[in-house]
């Protein structure tokens, strides 16, 4: 009895001190900096460190996590993977309820309690997600979101070794979440399975970023921060005005009347739209201009390119 209470006060002290550190760090690092044409990213003052960590995590993923995760996916039937995911999601349920309550979401807290009870019993210790079937859908709440609701500022973006993207607010968040998750106390092998399963589940997203991102570091940072913001605000459609936010900043492009059709005529768009782009565009344009000079009415479709001058 004494042991448990001691442990609890220890961890809460820990959390409180981290909150304090978060506040301190975020207080001194948010600055509005812009240079001519170059956006200085105020949310990421430790970009140098973060990029190093990003590359480190990348290496760990490439040479360790991904191969192990691929092997796991290969040997594990889909229904077992789903069961494992459900099991760990259910254990997170306790933390979800705690954070519901700390954010004052009473109704959601009651629903999530129901969800946890149903899945822990009828769902055989959480292996089956029965609750979703009966309309008690999974909610995503954690302590970092609660801190945000309480007004703790986000603080700078951080890439943590092995754990990946976070913010200074995310650190006390992560510690609380771990403390409120029974999986933390059952031993390293269980945590390994949890991490492995999480990596396997993220495979699609990781590949998507790999394929779609022009700059994976920037893409990951922006997506992560926006995704977290959306969780904090619970994604209300009323907040979606932000999808047009850029307009205020960008009013005058100098060519508002310019249409895609006009640009298409200036560009060598292939019939199917998928042919390889000519890298010597300038030269081609010049050639056609020369062609126009020599034979002004040779071919009207060719002329259109040069004649837009």
């Amino acid at each position: 009895m004494y042991m448990t209470s001691h442990k609890n006060s220890d961890s809460s002290l820990f959390a409180v001190s981290f909150v304090a550190i978060t506040l301190l760090l975020s207080g001194c690092s948010i600055k509005q900096l812009t240079e001519d044409g170059v956006e200085v990213v105020e949310v990421d003052p430790y970009e140098g460190f973060n990029r190093t960590m990003f590359d480190f995590n990348d290496g760990v993923d490439k040479y360790f996590a991904e191969p192990v995760s691929d092997a796991y996916t290969w040997v594990t039937p889909q229904f077992v993977q789903t069961g494992v995911t459900n099991f760990f999601d259910n254990l997170k349920g306790i933390n979800v309820v705690l954070n519901d309550l700390m954010q004052g979401k009473g109704k959601q807290g009651a629903e999530d309690t129901g969800r946890f009870l149903v899945n822990s019993t009828v769902g055989l210790l959480g292996l089956f997600d029965v609750a979703t079937e009966i309309g008690l859908e999974q909610n995503n709440e954690d302590f970092a979101q609660t801190l945000a609701v309480w007004g703790v500022p986000q603080g700078p973006y951080l890439v943590l070794p092995l754990l990946g993207p976070s913010t200074t607010r995310g650190i006390p968040g992560g510690i609380f979440d771990a403390a409120a998750n029974p999986a933390t106390y059952v031993g390293v092998p269980v945590q390994m399975v949890q991490m492995l399963n999480a990596r396997a589940n993220a495979d699609g997203e990781i590949n998507f970023v790999e394929e779609a991102a022009l700059d994976r570091y920037v893409f990951t940072r922006e997506s992560f921060l926006q995704y977290r913001d959306n969780l904090i605000s619970d994604g209300k459609i009323e907040d979606s005005d932000a999808l047009f936010d850029f307009e205020e900043e960008d009013e005058d492009f100098g060519d508002e009347e310019l249409t895609k059709e006009v640009l298409d005529n200036k560009s060598e768009v292939s019939e199917d739209g998928i042919a390889v782009i000519d890298e010597n565009k300038e030269i081609i344009v010049n050639e056609i201009e020369v062609l126009v000079e020599v034979e002004p009415v040779a071919d009207s479709s060719d002329v259109s390119l040069g004649s837009t001058e």
């Binding site: 170059v38 979703t132 932000a242 998928i274």
Partner: protein, 225 residues
């Protein structure tokens, strides 16, 4: 004769009713009528915007269903047509680049970037929407912003796999062709905001424009492989 009289009477009634309402409206609460009319217009606009989104989504689902029979090139053609009909690619690209940088581009650079960017978007769709496992889009709601733009919210349900649903917000603006998709957010991650950071980072580097074109072309080549 009787029918004529009846319709004449009906016309008269309508006219007089019209006059009465107009008079009442002008005298009493002109603004209320105007607001009601505005609301009706808003609703109609929202409905038109919604159709643009749902039509585009049915193209996505169709392409997934035909994923096995269509080649990558076929899907590109299919998506190019659908995207040009429903998206304002140029407006989105301008936003991504930002006005400062955009004004510095020559017309040829603008044309080249627009063409490459369009091809990148098309290839991204063609690459990712290539197999069907009972996914479906469900319309949720729409929202008119203070400035009169429209956001259409829908949910993509993915029955197989672990991530069961993704909320898609389509942000539409009206241009001379009608309502067009300007930005898309998946679970709150705004496509334009993310690209903006990426593109600007690359453009601010050495020989930024050519570097950007080269990177995008490389991405397209990877998709086409």
């Amino acid at each position: 004769m009787f029918a004529f009289n009846k319709s004449k009477l009906f016309c008269l009634l309508i006219i007089s009713f019209g006059i009465t309402t107009t008079v009442v409206a002008t005298e009493n609460n002109d603004s209320t009528v105007a607001i009601v009319e505005k609301e009706v217009v808003k609703e109609k606009e929202g409905a038109v915007a919604k159709v643009i989104v749902t039509d585009f989504q049915s193209v996505l689902i169709d392409a997934m269903k035909q994923g096995k029979t269509l080649s990558f090139e076929d899907r590109c053609l299919y998506f190019k047509d659908a995207i040009l009909k429903s998206h304002d690619v140029l407006k989105s690209l301008r936003t991504i680049v930002g006005s400062k940088e955009w004004r510095r581009f020559t017309d040829e650079q603008k044309a080249l970037l627009t063409e490459v960017f369009t091809r990148f978007i098309v290839s991204t769709y063609a690459f990712n929407f290539n197999e069907f496992s009972d996914e479906s889009f469900k319309y949720v709601s729409e929202h008119t912003t203070k400035k009169g733009n429209v956001v259409v919210r829908s949910i993509l349900y993915i029955p197989e796999g672990k991530r069961k649903k993704v909320t898609f917000d389509y942000a539409l603006k009206k241009n001379s062709d009608g309502w067009r998709i300007y930005n898309i957010a998946a679970d709150g991650v705004s496509d334009l905001a993310t690209r903006r950071s990426e593109y600007r980072r690359i453009l601010s580097g050495e020989d930024g424009f050519n570097a950007l074109i080269a990177i995008i072309n490389k991405k397209i080549d990877n998709y086409a492989k």
